[in-house]
Amino acid sequence: MHETALIQNLIVVAQKTLEEHNVKRVNSVTLSVGKLSNAMPDALSFAFEAMTQRGSLKGAKLIMKEIPVTVCCLDCGAEYNPLNFPIICPKCNSIYYKITQGEDIFIESLDCEF
């Protein structure tokens, strides 16, 4: 359910950006969604559609890119993309890791008409 809160933030950030540019229309918003970001793409789409019925993002499309999880092994430093838990380093079998990518959601860009 917190997807609505995330889309609300997206609208605020997009509006701030648009104030600095003389934009006629926003065609699309590109988001990168980490696989462990705890946000559901379908719920993000639904919230986006519902919350951009009016305002500066009216009619814009939401494009989502899924970002896989990347971790760094804390023992040997290897970087790898685990597919499942438990996360085990393919090089040294260590179970200790740090997640370096895949936990966040970023607004990448706005595609606009001037």
Binding site: V12, V13, N38, P86, E103, F106, E108, S109, D111
Partner: protein
């Protein structure tokens, strides 16, 4: 007509994170330790608090912030232990955010407070994603929720310092092996601290949890 791409590259949680950073600064300024307790509805978060507060309040001046969709019930339960409690009603909101905590902090006598314990809205998904400015995160998971619950909610196991398995006295009645449940937790997050609570001969055991929290508070004071 001219088309153009405006690059942004901003975290969607940035607005929350900015306020969380301000909260963290205010807490540090007043030497206040903040604990965020999260877990499903009915996991036993308030019961855990009722049992650890008498022991923690011997040493610290505590304020509890309760988050629920509706009612003042949990705040009332906490007040019965003698600890000050503020209740946030989110009216449908599924999590607490940094702004709500900032607002509650303004009502607190900071000079007389050493520990703030936030009991988040019962939900094992959304609260995990929102930094409140806390020092320590604890996820409460009850054994009747099912042995494989940790596997179904990886972010909750990953973004916490400790997991407390509650209602361990009920595990046998709901066919849950607590050792397997603990293994599922550490399979996801090998560095998390796993503790247990439950009734032994009718008495709630929470001593280890109290020591754990005290150690974390004292460790922060050193730095």
């Amino acid at each position: 007509m001219k088309m153009c791409k405006i690059e942004i590259g901003k975290d969607l949680k940035e607005l929350n994170n900015e306020i969380a950073a301000k909260n963290r600064n205010s807490f540090k300024l007043h030497d206040i330790f903040v604990l965020n307790i999260m877990g499903s509805p009915g996991a036993g978060k308030t019961t855990l608090l009722e049992n650890i507060l008498p022991l923690l309040s011997e040493k610290y001046h505590i304020v509890v912030i309760e988050g629920d969709l509706a009612t003042e019930n949990d705040a009332q339960r906490i007040r019965k232990t003698g600890v000050t409690a503020l209740q946030i009603n989110t009216n449908g909101g599924c999590h607490l955010d940094a702004h709500m905590i900032h607002h509650e902090f303004e009502k607190i006598n900071a000079a007389e407070t050493e520990l703030i314990i936030i009991e988040n809205v019962g939900n094992l998904v959304c609260p995990i994603s929102f930094d409140l400015g806390e020092d320590l995160r604890i996820v409460v998971l009850s054994t009747p929720e099912g042995e494989d619950k940790p596997l179904k909610y990886p972010p909750a196991m990953l973004k916490t310092d400790a997991v407390i398995l509650t209602k361990t006295d009920l595990a046998g009645y709901v066919d849950v092996n607590t050792e397997i449940m603990k293994k599922h937790i550490t399979d996801i997050n090998p560095r998390v601290c796993v503790m247990e609570s439950g009734k032994i001969n009718g008495v709630y055991s929470a001593d280890k949890i109290v020591s754990y929290i005290k150690d974390k508070i004292e460790a922060k004071k050193v730095f």
